[in-house]
């Protein structure tokens, strides 16, 4: 006899926050700030986004020196090869409203480690990497990374040797960045799919490096910023 179907667990109550989100959206639509149709189209598009295309871009670059060259020279063009058209595939057909159309791929070397931040707000290459994690948005990460990158990376579990330069790239009004890490040892002969699995979101931001067998991001602590904003 077939086993009884067990429904997946679900949250069976309506929270005040869920109500607030709908209320804010409905009022904004009623006030003419945007239309329900535009919001719906944008939401559907956002649901399609995630870090897999960026992971695949890195894996391809590891396997194909010509593609790596293209990725470093023209990230937007290289993105096409992993199914991301920064300009034409957005519902806008002219790029996204706050992600713009300039992706730069930062190539790590054994003597150079890149890491990405947005000191001003939380700019992030969403079309190719999905939604930003909470810690990336915090003033604590944004302020401290640019001042003490090695210490902050160490808190993420990444000890960068003194003879390796750390370069922090600050996202800005026109540019978005992902990191192309060094291909780790122990991955010789791996397929593109195998390689893409170990290129996690955190590797693409630059706070982690790929390791064979590691396919998920670690939980990251979120710390408050305690100093006044001017400091």
């Amino acid at each position: 006899m077939a086993e009884k179907h067990k429904p997946a667990p679900m949250v069976d109550e309506v929270s005040e926050f869920e109500v607030l989100e709908i209320a804010v959206r409905e009022l904004a639509i009623e006030k003419g700030l945007f239309t329900a149709e535009d919001h719906q189209r944008w939401t559907e598009y956002m649901h399609t986004l995630g870090p897999l295309p960026a992971a695949r871009l890195v894996a391809k670059a590891w396997l194909d020196p010509e593609f790596k060259k293209l990725a470093v020279e023209d990230g937007v063009k290289a993105s096409l090869e992993v199914g991301i058209d920064w300009v034409n595939s957005m519902p806008t057909h002219f790029g996204t409203p706050s992600d713009y159309c300039n992706l730069r791929v930062l190539e790590d070397t054994p003597k150079l480690k890149h890491v990405v931040v947005c000191t001003l707000c939380s700019c992030y290459p969403r079309p190719i990497l999905g939604q930003s994690p909470e810690w990336y948005r915090t003033p604590n990460y944004r302020r401290r990374l640019v001042r003490w990158p090695r210490q902050v990376l160490a808190e993420f579990g990444l000890q960068v040797p003194e003879d390796v330069e750390v370069r922090v790239e600050d996202s800005n009004q026109k540019s978005r960045f992902i990191v192309l890490p060094v291909r780790p040892e122990g991955t010789e002969g791996w397929s593109e799919d195998q390689l893409a699995e170990i290129v996690t979101r955190d590797c693409l931001i630059g706070v982690a490096v790929p390791k064979p067998g590691k396919t998920a991001n670690d939980p990251r602590p979120v710390r408050p910023a305690v100093n006044p904003y001017h400091h």
Binding site: P9, V11, L20, E21, H47, P97, S122, Q173, K174
Partner: protein, 151 residues
């Protein structure tokens, strides 16, 4: 390579140098903050492991739409008083919203987890800027609560 708008650097400095002007707690949002059950707690109670509440993406979409959505190719980052057209006045630039979110979270919603804090800050910002008022929002929340709990 696109050139960086020099206004970006001016804005960067302005953002670092200024403070949130007079702001007051919004009692409705304080109420939500106090009574509302956050996603982490709901997940634990119901055994759900989705890291984000189902409304996170719709909230992000609302923020993008407020920034100009489809019709604004680039974020112009102009302060509200410098915007010319009525259409421009309706926009809430991403960088403005995020700056204000940081300030409001620091002041009122520090103990609320993400993305609930982002939502509270956005509602607070829209009320502060007069895009709707607290009473309207309270009425709408009551209606939605009745609607969602009518099954």
């Amino acid at each position: 390579m696109a050139e960086i708008n020099p206004k970006y650097f001016e804005l960067d400095k302005e953002m670092r140098d200024r403070d949130l002007d007079e702001s007051t707690p919004v009692s409705l949002l304080e109420d939500v903050k106090g009574k509302g059950r956050v996603w982490d707690d709901l997940c634990e109670q119901y055994g759900v492991d989705n890291p984000d509440p189902p409304w996170r993406i719709t909230l992000e979409a609302t923020c993008d739409m407020l920034a100009g959505g489809y019709w604004e190719t680039f974020n112009v980052c102009k302060p509200k008083e410098e915007r010319d057209s009525e259409e421009e006045q309706k926009h809430l630039d991403a960088v403005e919203r995020r700056w204000e979110e940081d300030q409001l979270v620091n002041k009122y919603y520090d103990e609320v987890p993400f993305p609930e804090r982002q939502l509270l800050a956005l509602a607070h910002t829209l009320i502060r800027r007069g895009l709707f008022d607290e009473e309207e929002l309270a009425r709408r929340m009551e209606e939605i609560d009745r609607r969602l709990n009518s099954a």
